[in-house]
């Protein structure tokens, strides 16, 4: 892994004019991705992930700011970028009436890969994607997971240095999702490829070396997955109270409690110090006649971190914060 920058954005913004005024899809995004990194841009639907990818590739024109891939400007050096970057769009559809092999040749020809290069390269890519035994199968008859692998193989046909993947695992089952990410891991380990991937799946963050959390067009945090989990102050406790809503309200008002998140029939409570607060919480529940199946400290996962970071962001913008309002009531 070198320190060379593969992707760069500085104050990148995109506004769309709508009937009601302006919609800010991407709001002053600044980040850099080094070569060989797997960078995951993670956020819910409508957060601005797809717009960001399209801006980087020069498929959309930016309203403000700068962006470049491998030093080439997204808006001015579109052809240089296309030669060096692979891309799978979100609702990417392979020609269904072409076989796996025909799809590979089709994309190779579009990218100007010579016949000679194709001869070596296509079998390699098919082997990599585990599609060697399916070369004659129509793309339309492949399973969802195999289609994604074929799309990945096609995006690599011109030996790009960077691949941009827009929600490549959407609608794919867990088994195929795992296989797809293992392929991305191989690309990193064996070819040092830089991967930029957008996903709504929080657990996929763990497969990236760097991640950015994006919400309503803004980058909320950008760091390694571990560091992001440490951005959230406090330690996490999990409990299953017998009476949910009263327990939730009780927790919110307790000393040392930083944040309360619901988790199905459980409560996730961020506290300043787990050891110190556990007994205190148990006593408070008992005093209210609420029983609990056992309070325990748990690790913060990406999802808890994301929810907490989004909440803190929106709370600083919108006063009064819901937590404070609740405390007042209790």
């Amino acid at each position: 892994m070198t320190d060379e920058i593969a992707l760069s954005m500085e104050g990148l913004s995109k506004r769309f004019r709508t009937s009601g005024g302006w919609n800010i899809a991407v709001d002053h995004l600044s980040l850099q991705v080094r070569r060989g990194e797997t960078y995951g841009l993670i956020g819910p639907d409508g957060a601005g992930k797809t717009t960001t990818i399209r801006l980087l590739l020069g498929l959309l024109s930016r309203t403000e700011g700068k962006s470049s891939i491998l030093g080439f400007d997204s808006m001015n050096d579109v052809y240089e970028i296309r030669e060096r970057v692979g891309y799978i769009a979100q609702q990417f559809v392979l020609p269904a009436d072409l076989t796996v092999m025909e799809n590979m040749s089709f994309f190779a020809n579009i990218q100007g890969v010579t016949r000679e290069e194709q001869k070596n390269h296509i079998p390699e890519l098919l082997a990599f994607a585990g599609l060697t035994d399916f070369t004659d199968r129509l793309a339309g008859q492949l399973s969802g997971g195999m289609k994604k692998k074929l799309a990945l193989a096609c995006s690599l046909i011109h030996e790009p240095q960077v691949v941009m993947l827009d929600e490549p695992t959407l609608g794919v089952d867990p088994v195929s999702r795992r296989e797809f990410w293992n392929l991305l891991g191989n690309l990193r380990a064996e070819h040092g490829l830089t991967i930029f991937v957008c996903t709504p799946y929080m657990d996929e963050a763990e497969r990236c070396t760097q991640i950015g959390l994006i919400y309503e067009g803004k980058l909320i945090a950008s760091d390694t997955p571990n560091q992001i989990k440490h951005l959230v102050a406090g330690e996490l406790l999990e409990l299953t109270p017998s009476r949910f809503v009263p327990a939730q309200e009780l927790m919110t008002g307790l000393e040392g409690v930083l944040e309360v998140q619901t988790y199905g029939e459980k409560l996730h409570v961020f506290v300043d110090q787990a050891n110190r607060r556990m007994a205190q919480i148990e006593a408070a529940l008992k005093a209210e006649g609420i029983t609990d199946e056992g309070i325990r400290p748990i690790e913060v996962r990406m999802e808890e971190a994301f929810i907490s970071l989004i909440r803190r962001q929106t709370n600083t913008e919108m006063k009064p914060a819901p937590e404070i309002a609740l405390k007042g009531r209790v």
């Binding site: 409508g46 867990p174 088994v175 657990d203 949910f244 998140q261 988790y263 999802e303 929810i307 909440r311």
Partner: protein, 324 residues
């Protein structure tokens, strides 16, 4: 509640589990979509029905809803037979599909009214339910917004509201949270558990393994067969083939290449070895037994092992181990 519903409620046998499936089978020609599946779901439970695409999840739900007939075996939902008592059963069952079958050109309120009338709710009851559902979905103040203008989370809660407008006792949710942001997903699961506290039984399918962790029990279906069924924590103890080792090294990209060749030459019996961000996860029969040899193989190639520890498998690890 109208007279018909009232009589039916008395017929519901509350002593037996609300969902019982026995040897349920559906074949399409030679293809066994669902292959002798048996399970039951207790009243007030949230049951996760998980499997890869094409494993038979939706076919199972469609049989339980009485939309298709089983080839053999039987099912009982609230004591009703989905095949012979379809209409009666459907009056007590809610169904929400992945597509959120809402009318985009109707307002939130109009959607609730539409579904209420489809289910034959009387005027007073419908007015009451409408208020309750708008409250539940957080749509108070947005009653008259066109559904097409609502964000994913609101649409999802509205779709749930429409699916339960007739106060069903069993609710089927088919991938209800696809494409919804994490905060809305949490809220949605809060609503699910609020329903179960009132005795509603929920069967849910999802591709999000972290959501499956929220279910009280889960069943894994693969190739039409039920391969495992238990609570998530119990499945992690009983159904994980092998153990998961997390390896922290100086150069993970190089280390994973070395471990892969060790896997191929059978030096170490690794079921799986893959990059997880800056770490490597390896699945192997006995983590303790092979720790030293892994450390040595890497050290020979000048790779420093910082940490090497056995971690608890995720439900996804267990799922993949069970269905592949």
């Amino acid at each position: 509640m109208n007279q018909l519903n009232h009589i039916d409620n008395q017929n519901i046998n509350s002593a037996q589990p609300p969902i019982i499936v026995e040897g349920l089978t559906k074949s399409f020609g030679d293809f066994m979509a669902v292959d002798h599946v048996s399970f039951s779901v207790k009243a007030g439970d949230v049951f996760g029905w998980l499997g890869p695409n094409g494993a038979g999840k939706t076919t199972t739900i469609r049989m339980l809803l009485g939309l298709i007939k089983p080839t053999s075996g039987s099912a009982s939902v609230l004591g009703f037979d989905p095949v012979t008592q379809t209409k009666t059963m459907q009056a007590h069952v809610g169904y929400m599909s992945q597509q959120f079958t809402l009318y985009n050109e109707l307002t939130a309120r109009e959607n609730i009214q539409f579904y209420g009338r489809v289910y034959g709710l009387e005027r007073d009851e419908l007015a009451k339910r409408q208020a309750e559902i708008l409250q539940m979905a957080g749509l108070v103040g947005r009653e008259n917004v066109l559904t097409s203008q609502l964000s994913g989370g609101w649409k999802q809660r509205l779709a749930l509201g429409c699916a339960i407008v007739h106060r069903p006792q069993v609710v089927f949710l088919d991938e209800p949270t696809a494409g919804v942001d994490p905060i809305s997903r949490r809220d949605f699961w809060g609503l699910i558990y609020a329903m179960t506290k009132k005795g509603v039984t929920v069967l849910v399918t999802t591709h999000y393994m972290d959501e499956a962790e929220l279910c009280q029990r889960v069943g894994f279906i693969s190739g039409g067969r039920l391969v495992a069924m238990d609570s998530p924590s119990q499945l992690k103890r009983t159904h994980m083939r092998g153990q998961v080792l997390e390896i922290n090294v100086t150069d993970p990209e190089k280390a994973v290449r070395i471990l892969k060749s060790a896997q191929q030459s059978h030096k170490i019996p690794l079921d799986e070895v893959a990059l997880y961000g800056a770490q490597i996860h390896a699945v192997l029969p006995d983590a303790e037994e092979y720790k030293e040899s892994i450390r040595n193989i890497l050290l020979q190639k000048n790779i420093q092992v910082n940490t090497l520890e056995r971690i608890e498998p995720t439900l996804e690890d267990v799922f993949i181990s069970s269905v592949t």
